[in-house]
């Protein structure tokens, strides 16, 4: 994905801004890449109980999202989990 971004030729200034926004959210949430990795693994474990998912295609990241309240944008945990098949269809 990073490679794709590179070829999209985004101006380096706005790239810097976007990268900073993301890194600061995890800095502020005191969330290291290791923690993100274990969150990811736990999500895989839980979801796998109910459905078959594509572990390779799974992507989680902390992003910003507009909150319903008046306090502007807040960090949110976004998980993109491709489902391959539903398990146990009551057989």
């Amino acid at each position: 994905m990073a490679l794709l971004d590179f070829f999209k030729k985004k101006s380096s200034g706005s790239l810097a801004k976007d990268r900073l926004k993301l890194v600061l959210i995890s800095d502020r949430a005191n969330c290291s890449p290791e923690i993100m990795e274990s969150i990811k693994n736990d999500i895989i474990k839980v979801i796998s109980k109910y459905m078959e998912i594509d572990c390779e295609g799974l992507d989680i990241q902390i992003t910003q999202t507009e909150s319903d309240g008046a306090n502007g944008s807040v960090p949110a945990l976004c998980a993109n989990i491709p489902i391959l098949d539903m398990k146990h269809k009551k057989n």
Partner: protein, 261 residues
Amino acid sequence: MSEVIVITSGKGGVGKTTTTANLGTGLAKLDKKVVMIDTDIGLRNLDVVMGLENRIVYNLVDVVEGNCRIKQALIKDKRYPNLFLLPSAQTRDKTSVSPEQMVKLIDELREEFDYILLDCPAGIEQGFKNAIAAADRALIVTTPEVSPVRDADRIIGLLEANEIHKIDLIVNRLRMDMVKRGDMMSIEDVVEILAIDLIGAVPDDDSIVISTNQGEPLVGDDSLAGQAYMNICRRVMGEKVEMLDLDVKEGFFKKLSKLFK
């Protein structure tokens, strides 16, 4: 009515010392009585930026340890009657001074000075803690790049945790040509990310290097950086000063008209 201001950044090399020197000199030019304290024990530099390195007898650690009186350690800048420097020790380390000792020292200085400027070392360890212990407000210096802005954000968090809530931002080494091309974050970008008040922006200016070489702060001269620093000094004092147009691409006539403003 004195104000204690810490100039800090987290990251090294973004211009804390240069900013301290120029603000100190600028405020003195505006008739305020100012003392600048170099709190970077072991790596002192404010003395050379100010051109006062040959006049050091006693230093911060000497004062704290009681080897001399405060007055003996203060270097009076002969160019400005209101300006003083308390140099740091070069051969000691940050643990030679404690936050409590800094508070005590600065309380004594408050009686005599309008502004006490603390040049903070890089990092978030003991030296940083010493520098912020007695501060009423903070000026964060950053350049428009990823790592210094990230570090600045961390520093802001630490300052707030230490009950320093008046925090203003100085965006240093701005290159308008790069901002225009989209290859550098703009002032607005940095302000948006850090979400603190902007007190000024200083362009990347050759004259800064020259003035540091000479040991003579350029605040108040007609260079763009000199004007920017003087504006920051006025804003520190509470004046409302419009933001300087940092776009250097100006014709001869615009320059001429500026001269007569």
